[in-house]
Amino acid sequence: MRGEKDKVRVLIAKPGLDGHDRGAKVVARALRDAGMEVIYLGLHQTPEQVVRAAIDEDVDVVGLSVLSGAHMTIFPKVLRMLEERGATDIRVIGGGIIPEDDAAELERLGVARLFAPGTPTAEIIDYVDGLPSEP
């Protein structure tokens, strides 16, 4: 649990070319309503843009939504770039149309958690809230 002063900071973004932003916006709003500091970066972000914003905004968590099938390219790239910049304390979570096998592989590569379609936002809030502030 965290005190009022250290509100969790979350960056939500839609990387890649996919425009389906319903889920990303619902999650952004739910996290904000749960008292977190949410930065919604919007659509068509490159991994570079996502990582730069995450570092500039000093966020604790990056949430990425991918529905276009490009998840096996985008998530590893974001993880690699965070590592290159020494920002491995930033947790990466995500959601979208991601088959289970791919999700398992991405979690093995370092994605903290992928949420399947139909996940209640309460579960995402609990998860993000429960992350330790330092790994």
Binding site: K25, A30, T73, P120
Partner: protein
């Protein structure tokens, strides 16, 4: 019984006979959150004038259907949206679907093709062939339709920002098969307004985008008369989370904006309006959906006649394609999606659709397998051939509930039109984030209802079991598709005549900078084997790129 005495009797019945579930009364709402009464009767449709408001099929205001004999004359077109991997793989899927009785084609492009990037662009990395087929040039389009005669099949292409370019690729493909433009039929979605509103696949800013669209309308009116130049789409608005009434209202408002743009470009309304078509969602609330389609026809006929002064009958007809609601499907217990899709498909048919795509059960997890697509197609065939739903026209007309919902849908839409007008029209409302905010609010409200358990989704928040791992087969896209596609794109660039490309590009830049119709020049670019990314690149230099201020 007149309305007043009905109302009195209904009050009596409610008090004496009906057994109210108490507080639970509030539970009864449509999927859009609209309250539903326990009973509807004559008093709920007392304002209805049969001839004025319903009429007969094929007659104004077309509430009961746009064609005189509807499905007794000809069934709806069974058109499954499909595309993945390379043009060759999708060509095989097309032939599979045609072989199983599908009657029209519908192409799903991958994200780079939708956004106007070539497969070797850095922005395309990881996206090539993933959620649709990759088309870089007319060469890929020729492969896509290899062995499929374009004078005998109609094709729908889901492309918007670069629709003019993909249409040009298609027309040149037909030309090379020996089919004249006049004999080719099909649809391009070409609806950029809903991209800014909901689907978010834009390239250029709104004003040059509207110019491209009116150029396509004008070109097709004279050269490709069987082509549906815009499919004005509510589907994506609904998928983004809108209510049924918002889907209806925002879509028709977009339609009116296109008609106005055509008129402003100097065309006669009857010259292009007959080739406008629509595309709606079919969500899970059966009656609300049927009412939506009926209201849509009536509103459009009245608007076209009264507001735009259209005189040709074809200008008044709201022809539409329907796709069942992807957003109603669940990753949990995915086989249940077959059942959802069947009800949604039935609603579309009861609502008088001209063509239908039924979703496959696995689309919430991946692109569909052949098996899943076949079941989805069979679902339509069962509706058509077994249920009896196609035997008589507009079978739900006269249902107190459906007529009441149809009226309510219409009046809600008219209220939204006023709101949009007050915002300064569709373009200004987009710039102010009006639609985006409305949709985000509706989608969040729905999500909260689901999470509180007020809205039940079978297998998700009720009737779940402990081990929810789906055990259905999923389609895998081979990662080698991307390198293969990039290789064939490079071969196209190697083998073409560069001076023809340079000439076409120069001409395109001049035309984009000037005022003439863009289509003949885009066709020239296509024939010279310019790639989509190259054509878009030239247009971006002149028109610029759109940027959204995100609203959530």
């Amino acid at each position: 019984m007149d309305g007043d005495s009905y109302e009195a009797e209904k009050r009596r019945w409610l008090a004496e006979t009906y057994q109210s579930p108490g507080e639970d009364e509030e539970r009864f709402t449509t999927v859009s959150g609209e309250p539903v009464d326990p009973l509807y009767g004559p008093g709920d449709v007392s304002g209805l004038d049969y001839l004025r408001d319903l009429g007969f099929p094929g007659e104004y205001p077309y509430t009961r259907g746009i064609y005189p004999s509807m499905y007794r004359g000809r069934l709806w077109t069974m058109r499954q949206f499909s595309g993945f991997g390379t043009a060759r793989e999708t060509n095989e899927r097309f032939k599979f679907l045609l072989g199983r009785g599908q009657t029209g084609l519908s192409v799903a492009f991958d994200m780079p093709t939708i956004m106007g990037y070539d497969s070797d662009d850095p922005m395309s990395e990881g996206e090539v062939g993933r959620c649709g087929v990759a088309i870089d040039s007319v060469v890929d389009m020729q492969t896509l339709f290899d062995g499929i005669p374009l004078d005998r099949i109609t094709t729908s292409m889901t492309t918007n920002a670069p629709a003019s370019i993909l249409l040009a690729f298609y027309l040149v493909t037909g030309e090379r098969q020996g089919v004249p433009f006049r004999e080719m039929g099909g649809t391009i979605q070409n609806d950029i307004l809903k991209e800014y509103i909901a689907q978010k696949s834009w390239i250029f800013p709104p004003r040059p985008s509207l110019r491209i669209i009116t150029d396509v309308m004008e070109f097709c009116a004279s050269e490709v008369p069987r082509w549906n130049t815009i499919s004005i789409s509510g589907y994506h608005i609904r998928e983004a989370g809108s209510t049924a009434a918002q889907e209806l209202a925002f879509t028709l408002a977009d339609g009116m904006a296109y008609v106005q743009a055509g008129i402003d470009a100097g065309m006669d309304v009857d010259e292009f309006a007959p080739r406008l078509s629509f595309f709606f969602n079919s969500h899970i609330d059966f009656f609300e959906e049927v009412a939506k389609y009926r209201a849509a026809r009536r509103i459009w006929a009245r608007v076209m006649k009264e507001r735009f002064g259209a005189e040709k009958e074809e200008s008044l007809l709201l022809r539409f394609h329907t796709q069942t609601a992807g957003c109603s499907l669940t990753a949990q217990q995915p086989e249940n999606n077959i059942v959802r899709t069947a009800y949604e498909g039935l609603a579309a048919v009861m609502g008088g659709t001209q063509s239908l795509h039924t979703n496959s059960m696995d689309e919430v997890l991946a692109l569909p397998t052949e098996k899943a697509v076949e079941i989805a197609l069979r679902t339509q065939q069962v509706i058509a051939c077994e249920t009896g739903a196609a035997n008589t026209i507009d079978p739900l007309a006269g249902s107190y509930y459906v007529e009441h919902l149809t009226d309510r849908m219409e009046s809600e839409a008219l209220e939204y039109f006023d709101e949009i007008e007050a915002e300064g029209g569709v373009l200004e409302a987009i710039e102010k984030g009006y639609f985006q905010r409305r949709i985000a609010d509706a989608s969040y409200r729905y999500q909260l209802e689901v999470e509180k358990g007020e809205r039940v989704i079978v297998g998700v928040n009720r009737f779940t079991h402990d081990d929810e791992k789906p055990d259905i087969e999923l389609l895998r896209i081979d990662p080698s598709v991307e390198s293969e596609q990039v290789e064939s794109l490079r071969a196209v660039r190697r083998e073409r005549d560069e001076s023809a490309v340079e000439g076409a590009a120069l001409e395109l830049r001049r035309r984009a900078d000037g005022t003439g119709n863009l289509m003949p020049v885009i066709l020239k670019c296509a024939r010279a084997h310019m790639t989509q990314g190259e054509i878009v690149g030239v247009m971006k230099e002149v028109f610029g790129e759109y940027r959204e201020r995100p609203v959530y």
